[in-house]
């Protein structure tokens, strides 16, 4: 495996949450609070330090392709398992001041928990809102891409547990091709709003966890045009430099007069 990747397909997901549970079991992730939200069947709400796979439930007034549902108005219920995107250009990795966050030999983004000192900078640098600090532990946590399992020749726990192959694991290039083919096939079958979510044309440079979704990314809280925050550095530092020069001039001026 040179570049490991996930392709998660909403049209194959049955919302069983086996991925959430398998991930927690394997990685010994603690629970994230017993909160009933009333958001359809989603009581997990979002990814975080203690949720690395999150199944979303969307009840929408739209049709799922050719599905025939005997209701007065169009209706569909879509499920999708969200995960850390393992970005091509990762905001968390660039931001980490201790070097705790690294790119592994399978191309994933890994937080080394024995180095992390919980500074929290990765948390505000992720354009997808994935990584977070765990309390009271103090360190930052996110999906490890089951690096330990991959190193032992196994596939990630979520992909293993998924009963319908909604979560596919494989080589990045192959899955990228597969995602395009899948969307073409779905559109041919009548799922006119099927699309791939893989922000290749942004500074993130594509993600190693891609999704096949129905409808707009916004509905899944996926940012339509995510950017890696390092693109803001140039303008910010330039401003700092110019302001600094102006300040020196003012201080000089203050002492000269």
């Amino acid at each position: 495996m040179t570049k490991a990747a996930f392709l998660t397909d909403a049209t194959l997901c049955i919302g069983c949450k086996a991925c959430e549970v398998a991930c927690k079991e394997w990685n010994e992730v603690p629970d994230d609070g017993m909160i009933w939200t009333g958001f359809s069947y989603d009581n997990t709400q979002m990814l975080g330090a203690s949720t690395w796979r999150h199944v979303m439930f969307l009840e929408q007034p739209a049709v799922a392709g050719p599905q025939q549902v005997d209701m007065e108005n169009p209706f569909r219920w879509i499920f999708l398992s969200d995960v850390c995107k393992h970005c091509g250009n990762a905001g968390c990795l660039e931001a980490c001041p201790t070097g705790a966050i690294v790119r592994t030999d399978v191309g994933s983004v890994l937080v080394q928990s024995d180095v992390c000192n919980g500074c929290g900078y990765c948390v505000v640098s992720c354009p997808f809102g994935v990584v977070d600090k765990r309390h009271p532990d103090g360190r930052a946590f996110k999906c490890t891409f089951c690096y330990d399992r991959q190193s032992a020749g196994m596939i990630p726990a979520c992909a293993k547990a998924c009963p319908t192959q909604s979560i596919r694991f494989g080589e990045l290039d192959e899955l990228r091709e597969a995602s395009v083919a899948r969307v073409a096939e779905l559109q041919g079958r009548g799922y006119t709003d099927a699309q791939v979510y893989d922000p290749l044309e942004t500074s993130v440079g594509g993600t190693h966890a891609m999704f096949v979704i129905l409808g707009q990314p916004d509905a899944y809280n996926l940012p339509p045009a995510p950017e890696v925050p390092t693109i803001y550095l140039k303008s910010a530092w330039t401003s700092a430099l110019v302001s600094a020069l102006v300040l020196v001039a003012i201080v000089c001026g203050a002492f000269l007069f």
Binding site: I14, E20, W36, V69
Partner: protein, 871 residues
């Protein structure tokens, strides 16, 4: 189970989940397969990708509906109307597979002229005894068949002995091989014409008015499913507790079974009926049963009376002249030899007298009501949580407090184990712990990875599990417990020479034990179930080697073949070959994966089509061959005709696939074996918002028992106090009564609180804010839950009124990381007549905004709510 058992011969799924890949259409009804069988559901998703049409007919739009091609909403409890209309559609549109129907079913058989249909008698069939509330099925027999083989076995069984888990549990087995038939299907009393007449009024109009399904939706579903039949196409039906937990559940299943016979789907790839069993190994728990009315391998438990006076009587009653049950004597004798070993000899009828006799309704509901009446001293509860999972769970908890002693064996402290201190009755002050006389023992049990043994899953597949770790502390396996309990009881019995202990002392109880914990060797038990020759303990290759003379022993004849020789534990094999996975585990019987697969070939032995070939006759080697183990005698030629008076399997012709039946045919018409009719008729649930539109004079299944008593009352049908229809169900995230999921943080956090699902319309009408607390009340009790208002719940127009349906998951209780009210407090104790299962769908309820305590005044107006079950 008896729905399938009577129709086809064996009560179990006839196919395997992966066979759904071969289906051209899949009808999922009475089931939420994606949520409750997510792993099995992968085959449905894969089939869908291959072009299979998936239909989901259900009151709720669940996670199964979300991925189905077609979803049809349905009023809970109106399934027979819908299915009956499908049957009528098939008959009227001539979509039935004629050649299959004529040769392989009893559609052409002529019924006795004494028979009167429910259409003639305003809702009951002939033979109804209004006092005893039972049917005498004499008038349902084939013309020309004598009711009983002999007079001795003909006496009626005592009241309540109507357990139907055995294939032919009710009456003596008549000789069904001598029937008259009309292969043109024209004779007015042939099954085909009786069927047509019986379902004539189940029209799409009726479906629209009383199921709430628009005619378009019905016809679309009917066409999609019913055209997937014939030589080149097959369709499968999947069902679960959405059908079984009804007062006429068995008849709902019967409708599907009839449909599959008409469409010629049985025994064929992509066809069949997938009865989705729930728990891991619940199939095993009926194969090697802890049920009161059957013995291992679906032999009948002897009932008190003439039939059990001698072993010969019993055999006379339950074996058949023709068909496979002719071998019953071999199985019962081998079972007795397994139980009693040396003590079982021909002279003492192999210890037949030591078996208990059924004297009444000893089902769960039956004995629980006895418990409530103070008739029971003690109870072992192992791997069940009746305080939450039992119907009318408030009454179940009440029953526990009447016991002298209670032993609970569990991995966690369930609500049953702590009823005496944590139940709502105690919390409300209704009971005081100090006054409960029950002595409660909670013993720790081992989990599934901590013990050896097999699971038998829904496709009848035995898979061996190896112990991975020792159970912690004092936790022990069921084998350990049962074995050592037996040792202790036998020691006590030795000191007590009364005749009643003779059977206990006669038991063969010499299992080898191993290790410091003295664990019985599970493989030995499996070997015993496989069967062996008594003289030299050699394992038998299968049930055909069993004998009736006491020379063989076999603990479960349908499992025979799982351990054919020492070292060959087929349940533990993991090399799958071929599409059906032979070489991975062992499917009973004899590793046949698709039952009745003789029907996948034409009467002449060739496959119906290349596309749908499964098993066929090899004309060279003169035996049946194919992609599965033939469910047929291997060397019986397709054109074999039995000689006059031939018995057993030899009495069935070579084109009769349903070999457990005396006539070898698939039973569209069930002449014997069911308590409530040879054909399904629509009755309303025990509580319904409408009167029965088909039979206004018979509102509910006449043979079902409501067990009405104080604390177990019913609403009227309809009832102004309870305008909404309610159903309980499972969510993927939790396990039934929640003992194994509410105690695990990773599962508990997925669904932490009890909620009920209501439609947006109902929320608007009652001004319920999404998520707020509401109180649900039925004639049995009241609970509180969050209101989840969603477009997925649809109100339906039934008759002339709008009926709202409310869904309620039942997983919560008073222990664990997450707690909530107990859904089953709302359900009634009732008994379907064949299997005595309760009705959990189609109840009537009411709903108010606010928590239980806030609604105390309103709840007290409901007089049916006994003993102040509020706050």
């Amino acid at each position: 189970m008896p729905g399938l058992g009577t129709t086809y011969g064996r009560g179990g799924a006839t196919t395997a989940p992966n066979d759904l890949l071969n289906s051209d259409a899949i009808l999922i009804m009475g089931s939420n397969m994606a949520e409750n069988h997510p792993v099995g559901f992968q085959w449905v998703m894969e089939a869908k990708e291959l072009g299979t049409k998936v239909l989901h007919v259900d009151p709720r739009f669940s996670r199964t509906s979300a991925v189905a091609n077609i979803w049809v909403p349905l009023r809970a409890g109106s399934d027979i109307l819908f299915l009956g209309a499908l049957i009528r559609y098939v008959l009227e549109s001539e979509l039935f597979f004629r050649e299959y129907v004529v040769h392989y079913t009893n559609a052409s058989v002529i019924i006795t002229e004494d028979f009167k249909d429910s259409e003639d008698l305003d809702g009951i069939f002939s033979g109804w005894d209004a006092e005893k509330k039972t049917y005498d099925p004499k008038s349902w027999l084939y013309e020309g068949v004598e009711p009983d083989k002999s007079t001795r076995a003909g006496q009626a069984a005592p009241q309540g002995c109507h357990g139907g888990h055995a294939e032919h549990g009710l009456h003596a087995m008549p000789d069904l091989s001598r029937y008259h038939q009309d292969p043109t299907l024209q004779h007015p009393r042939c099954v085909f014409q009786l069927l047509r007449k019986h379902f004539a009024r189940y029209t799409p109009d009726m479906v629209e008015r009383y199921c709430g399904v628009s005619k378009d939706a019905f016809l679309r579903a009917a066409e999609t499913f019913c055209t997937a039949s014939g030589p080149d196409k097959t369709g499968a039906i999947c069902y679960a507790l959405g059908w079984t937990q009804h007062s006429n559940g068995v008849q709902m299943i019967r409708c599907a079974a009839i449909l599959q016979l008409l469409l010629g789907n049985m025994g064929r790839p992509g066809g069949g009926i997938l009865a989705l069993r729930g728990h891991a190994s619940i199939q095993g728990s009926t194969d090697v049963p802890t049920l009161y009315d059957i013995l291992p391998g679906y032999l009948s438990m002897p009932k008190f009376g003439e039939e059990s006076k001698t072993l010969a009587n019993y055999i006379e009653k339950y074996s058949s002249c023709t068909g496979w049950w002719h071998n019953l004597d071999k199985y019962i004798v081998s079972l007795l030899k397994a139980y009693y070993g040396e003590s079982a000899q021909p002279e003492n009828e192999f210890g037949f007298h030591w078996l208990p006799r059924v004297t009444g309704d000893h089902s769960h509901q039956g004995y629980w009501l006895d418990m409530l009446d103070g008739k029971m001293d003690g109870l072992f509860v192992m791997g069940q949580n009746p305080a939450v999972a039992g119907p009318n769970s408030g009454m179940e908890r009440r029953g526990l407090s009447k016991l002298k002693w209670l032993v609970v064996r569990e991995m966690v402290e369930t609500e049953t184990a702590s009823f005496w201190c944590e139940s709502p009755e105690v919390k409300r002050g209704e009971w005081r712990t100090e006054e409960i006389p029950t002595e409660v023992f909670l013993l720790p049990a081992a989990g599934h990875a901590e013990k050896d043994g097999t699971f038998t899953n829904t496709q009848r597949l035995l898979q061996w599990r190896q112990k991975a770790v020792d159970p912690p502390g004092d936790s022990r396996s069921e084998n350990w417990f049962a074995y050592h309990l037996g040792v202790l009881l036998r020691e006590k019995a030795r000191r007590d020479p009364r005749p009643r202990n003779a059977g206990l002392l006669a038991l063969k109880w010499d299992y080898s034990i191993e290790g410091p914990r003295r664990e019985p060797i599970a493989e030995e038990v499996l070997q015993e179930m496989n069967g062996y020759i008594v003289a030299n303990h050699e394992l038998v290759p299968g049930f055909t080697a069993l004998k009736a003379d006491g020379s063989t022993a076999c603990g479960c004849w349908i499992y025979s073949g799982v351990f054919p020789k020492m070292g060959e534990n087929r349940a533990n094999q993991r090399t799958a070959k071929g599409f059906y996975g032979h070489g991975w585990g062992f499917a009973w019987p004899s590793d046949r994966r698709i039952l009745y697969n003789r029907a996948s070939a034409r009467p002449d032995g060739n496959p119906w089509s290349e596309r749908k070939k499964l098993v066929w006759w090899d004309f060279q080697s003169k035996q049946w061959t194919g992609l599965d183990v033939p469910d047929f005698t291997g060397t019986k030629a397709p054109d074999y005709q039995p000689p006059e008076d031939a018995e057993g399997d030899a009495g069935l012709a070579g084109d009769k696939p349903f070999l457990l039946h005396g006539d070898g045919l698939g039973w569209i018409w069930v002449p014997v074996g069911l308590s409530d009719g040879p054909l399904p008729a629509h009755y309303e649930p025990l509580e319904s918002p409408v009167r029965n539109p088909i039979y206004p004079k018979r509102q509910t299944n006449p043979a079902a028992e409501a067990k009405t008593r104080p604390g177990n009352e019913y609403a009227t049908s309809p009832d102004a106090r309870f305008p909404f229809v309610m159903m309980t169900y499972r969510l993927t995230e939790h396990h039934t009564a929640g003992g194994m999921s509410r105690t695990l943080s990773h599962l508990a956090e997925l669904q932490p609180e009890l909620f009920c699902e209501i439609s947006l319309e109902l929320a608007k009408e009652l001004k319920i804010e999404h998520g707020e607390w509401v109180t649900l009340v039925t004639a049995r009790g009241a609970i509180e839950a969050h209101a989840l208002s969603t477009a997925r719940m649809r109100p339906l127009t039934i008759g002339d009124k709008l009926v709202h349906q409310i869904g309620l998951p039942f997983h919560w209780g008073y222990n664990g990381l997450v707690k909530g009210d107990i859904g089953n407090d709302l359900v009634a104790i009732s008994e379907e007549p064949n299997v005595r299962i309760m009705e959990t769908k189609g109840l009537l309820c009411n709903l108010f905004v606010g928590r239980r305590a806030d609604n105390a005044a309103q709840l007290s107006e409901y007089q049916s709510i006994a003993e102040g079950k509020i706050a």
